[in-house]
């Protein structure tokens, strides 16, 4: 009968006794549970449904909850295995003292149960309490109206309980397996394995240099934002592989090289540092690489999402040069004039007035450029870094826009480019064109300028040439072919609300065929004929929902990863403290003074601590250009803003990291001395 309380009691005492290890673990479990619940709660929150642009936000948050879930599993497993490594000796002692393995299994079961129960109860309570606060912050970020009331999502509670129950069960099974497989004597010595000097793995070290170099090269060389999207993940994977290789093999190879240099090695400072570092790197390389990658992720995530969010105004300005823009596919003769009149009437009916009105008809389609030849490469024109966009208008339109009259031959063009250079001749569809003049500016800005690829704006002689080009690209691209588009764009006066009202009225009018013609004049639905219908003010809430969601996710995951980083550092320091204690004593016996030993060891700690951060800094520096390209895809072209956000993020992160360092170093010294 006494047995019934024995195991739980022993389990509880064990946790209490090992509180130096268990407390941070428990804390992490609690926070992870809380974060997961909050993420699920928000992602499934019904008050989001009524909000404009909530669809994409919900997707982001759903994705976020999956990331948190996966991360929680990996991370709790990692910390658990660390705890087990530390506790093997203790469990071995129980075994020697006569507890059978099944008894130890009982103890472990109760320990896991206590930790799991505490994590779930405290974590979910914390989650429920904080969920309201977080949703307030989120809605504020998204510029949503803040809903009243407080709710608990039982579905999210259930999902959280199931997930973490699964994780804890897995860690328990893992621990039991280890106990089962181990011999008592191995358990007793469990904490002391890994003394052997690491071998130099040259292959791995070189692989690390190569992959890291390749990753950096991709990040630095890539010019086109479109290829940046597809290459970014390749670069990330290369850099991650390179980081792991360099931390595990590269560091040891370098240290051994240094050790082989006798005159360098046999100096008081280098002697202890190098040999100590070889030993440390063997035990910590993977942990340090983890810290490095997590820090890089936190820094990039937070700095980009903060830039996107705080650069919202300029970003919207890039994406929407005017308040309202509409486009018509293959407008018929005179349609544009009629539509324009219709628009102007609608706007004045609404009591608003137009400004910056532009209207033109143009044909634009994507091509890939090879020297002076533009080809309609249907296979890879989108991903190719040579992708270009051509935009053609007739001389008549050009005159309409600029008031300048030009007379061109059928094979002559005027060219304006937003990036790429073009010489006197180029060929397109086996037809060659002669550049009559390079233009310094074009009357239509906006989308064309914000384009991600090189854009060429060309003035051709007349409709005949334009229609020829239209037919040819239609043959080449088939279903994906472009149309000749009539574009009208303008600004409105008034407040955002007034503009939105006006926009709705315009939408109602434009969604119908012109009164003078019948719907039968169009093939298919009329709405297809209206190719674009955009209003900056209407899109703003969408953008805030999207980028606010990104920011929220960035900060949320950033916090989670930061917590993980901190915990890894803490555990590293503590476990090293116990290993160093012995070395510390021997060195003193052999003739090192206390202060010398302390200095030697603290310089190693500083190195171990700040190496990952330094590496993360280099990663960010290398990735910087590529990230600006990616931000350009998301319409953020304000590079100084991004630089500022990155520096700010790095500083804040560095500060937190420094505080963590100071705190752990204190625990460390207490162990050592």
């Amino acid at each position: 009968m006494r047995k019934r309380t024995f195991y739980p009691k022993l389990a509880f005492l064990n946790i209490q006794k090992n509180s130096k290890f268990y407390l941070p673990y428990l804390l992490t479990c609690i926070i992870t549970v809380a974060m997961f619940y909050i993420m699920r709660y928000i992602a499934t929150n019904s008050s989001l449904n009524d909000m404009l642009g909530a669809g994409s936000l919900k997707e982001i948050l759903f994705f976020g909850s999956i990331v948190v879930g996966i991360f929680a599993a990996i991370f709790l497993f990692y910390t658990n295995s660390f705890l087990m490594k530390r506790r093997k000796k203790e469990l071995g002692l129980y075994n020697i003292l006569g507890m059978e393995k099944r008894h130890i299994a009982w103890v472990l079961l109760f320990e896991t149960f206590i930790v799991a129960a505490a994590s779930l109860v405290l974590g979910l309570s914390l989650g429920i309490l904080l969920s309201k606060l977080i949703i307030l912050i989120l809605f504020k970020m998204l510029k949503f109206t803040i809903p009243w009331g407080f709710s608990v999502s039982s579905a999210s509670l259930l999902v959280s309980v199931l997930l973490f129950f699964g994780i804890f069960l897995a860690t328990l099974l893992f621990n039991l397996m280890q106990i089962r497989l181990a011999k008592p004597i191995e358990l007793l010595h469990g904490g002391q394995t890994g003394e052997r000097e690491p071998k130099t793995k040259w292959m791995l070290a070189i692989l690390g240099i190569l992959t890291l170099g390749a990753g950096y090269t991709i990040a630095i060389v890539t010019e086109s934002p479109l290829s940046a999207i597809s290459l970014f993940f390749i670069a990330v994977v290369l850099v991650i592989v390179g980081t792991y290789c360099l931390f595990t093999a590269g560091s040891i190879a370098l240290l051994k090289l240094l050790r082989n240099n006798k005159h360098f090695y046999y100096q008081t400072k280098h002697f202890i540092a190098i040999s100590g570092m070889i030993y440390r790197m063997k035990q910590n390389a993977v942990g340090l690489a983890n810290i490095c990658i997590l820090s890089t992720m936190v820094l990039i995530m937070v700095s980009t999402t903060v830039s996107l969010y705080s650069g919202m105004e300029s970003l919207l300005g890039n994406r929407f040069p005017t308040d309202i823009s509409v486009g018509f596919k293959n407008p018929t003769d005179g349609e544009m004039e009629n539509r324009l009149r219709q628009l102007q009437d609608t706007v004045s009916e609404q009591g608003r007035s137009l400004s910056k009105l532009t209207d033109y008809t143009a044909l634009s389609f994507a091509v890939s450029r090879d020297g002076d030849t533009f080809a309609t490469d249907t296979d890879n024109y989108v991903s190719s870094s040579d992708a270009s966009e051509l935009c053609f208008i007739t001389a008549t339109e050009y005159e309409h826009l600029t008031g300048r009259t030009v007379t061109l031959a059928a094979d002559e063009v005027l060219v304006y480019s937003n990036g790429g250079q073009i010489s006197g001749f180029f060929s397109l569809f086996d037809q060659s064109f002669r550049v009559r003049e390079h233009l310094d500016s074009i009357p239509i800005t906006g989308q064309f300028n914000a384009s991600l690829v090189d854009g060429y704006f060309m003035v051709v002689s007349d409709d005949t040439v334009l229609n020829q080009l239209y037919t040819k690209q239609k043959t080449a691209y088939g279903d994906r072919a472009s149309s000749i588009r009539g574009e009208i764009s303008f600004n409105l006066d008034g407040t955002d609300e007034e503009k939105l009202v006006c926009y709705d009225a315009i939408k109602a009018v434009l969604n119908k065929p012109l009164p003078s013609e019948s719907a039968a004049a169009y093939t298919g639905e009329y709405i297809d004929h209206l190719s674009t219908m955009e209003c900056k003010q209407a899109a703003t809430s969408d953008f805030y929902a999207l980028y606010g969601g990104f920011l929220f996710l960035g900060l949320f995951l950033g916090t989670l990863f930061l917590m993980a980083t901190v915990l890894i550092i803490y555990y590293k320091q503590i476990s090293e403290g116990y290993d160093d204690k012995e070395r510390f004593e021997i060195m003193q016996k052999v003739g090192l003074s206390r202060s010398e030993v302390k200095h030697a060891i603290s310089s190693q700690i500083v190195m171990v601590f700040f190496l990952p951060i330094l590496m993360a800094g280099i990663h960010i520096l290398a990735a910087f250009k590529m990230i600006t390209k990616l931000l350009a895809v998301l319409n953020l072209t304000n590079i100084p803003l991004f630089i500022g956000c990155t520096i700010g993020t790095v500083l804040v992160f560095g500060l937190i990291y420094g505080v963590v360092y100071a705190l752990t170093a204190r625990v460390y010294y207490r162990i050592v001395s």
Binding site: Y266, F271, S275, I278, M587, K589, V590, S593, E596
Partner: protein
């Protein structure tokens, strides 16, 4: 100088006599050393190591109970001597060694090494002092796993800022003598206990210390390795290296030229080897230990 009075020499045949004579022995030991100190202050004569009236009292953290580890210890060691200090667990051996090694400070009394009072050396100089003047050999070797044997041996010299060439030059004859030349590049976990201890001896010797302090050096060795190590100690001692050995192995002590016995924090008795064989010395040490154990009980 003959060190402590040879009064006791050959007188252990009857334990009873010795027990009766014990206070006299102590008196003589103390007065003799007092004289030595006077000699030193007079600048005429001095021992390499002279310990006088050492007392060490440990107080528990909250000042409750006091434990006397060393009551009153005085003795001296001459240049080129090989002295073993014996005693049971708790007799104060370790405390004495820690004080000699300048790792601990006595409550009162002084330790003079070559005339320098190690008790009053400033904290900031103490490590350099130990590095330059003392060589240590420990029971558990105290080799650092992160260093190869060679680097372990070099450690004290590197700390003193010696060049690689000088260190190699110094190591060469020592390694040859200790038969570790071939294993210098190995790591401590790759070699046997005897080899580890020889590396530790090399580390102690390489600084040319005034005094080698050995704390149970054979404690973790098998009998074969023990024989080898004791043989090395004798050889080193024949080269005029002073050795002070703390042990409770009779075999180890029987190799020393002189054996001091400590009991309850005091020097209780001493034996000189002189021309006796190891076996004879072994027997005498055993007898003395038996006498101390049984007599000690009677005292208490």
């Amino acid at each position: 100088m003959a060190g402590i009075s040879s009064f006791c020499y050959g007188s252990t045949s009857t334990m009873l006599t010795l027990n009766l004579l014990y206070p006299v022995v102590r008196f003589l030991v103390i007065t003799r050393y007092w004289k030595v100190n006077i000699n030193y202050t007079g600048g005429i004569l001095m021992s390499l190591l002279s310990v006088s009236n050492l007392k060490k009292i440990y107080t528990t953290r909250f000042g409750g109970t006091q434990v006397q580890a060393l009551a009153n210890v005085s003795f001296s060691v001459e240049q080129g001597e090989y002295v073993a200090i014996m005693g049971e667990s708790g007799s104060g051996k370790t405390t004495l060694l820690n004080i000699l090694a300048a790792l601990d400070k006595p409550t009162s009394g002084e330790v003079l090494l070559n005339g320098r009072n190690t008790v009053t050396i400033r904290e900031s100089e103490i490590s350099a002092f130990r590095r330059d003047n003392l060589g240590f050999v420990f029971q558990d070797f105290n080799l650092l796993d992160t260093f190869s044997l060679q680097d372990n041996i070099f450690l004290p010299l590197v700390l003193s800022g010696k060049s690689f060439e000088e260190m190699s030059l110094r190591l060469e004859p020592i390694a040859r003598k200790l038969h570790i030349t071939d294993i210098l590049s190995k790591f401590p976990y790759e070699v046997s206990g005897g080899q580890k201890q020889r590396a530790a001896v090399a580390r102690a010797l390489i600084t040319n210390p005034q005094l080698i302090l050995a704390d149970e050096p054979t404690g973790a060795l098998d009998s074969h390795a023990t024989d080898g190590l004791l043989q090395f100690f004798n050889e080193i001692n024949n080269d005029d290296q002073t050795i002070l050995l703390v042990t409770h192995s009779v075999k180890a002590a029987s190799h020393a030229k002189r054996v001091l016995f400590i009991k309850d924090g005091e020097v209780f008795h001493q034996l000189y080897k002189a021309s006796q064989t190891y076996d004879e010395m072994y027997q005498k040490i055993s007898d003395t230990l038996t006498m101390i154990a049984t007599g000690g009980e009677r005292h208490a």
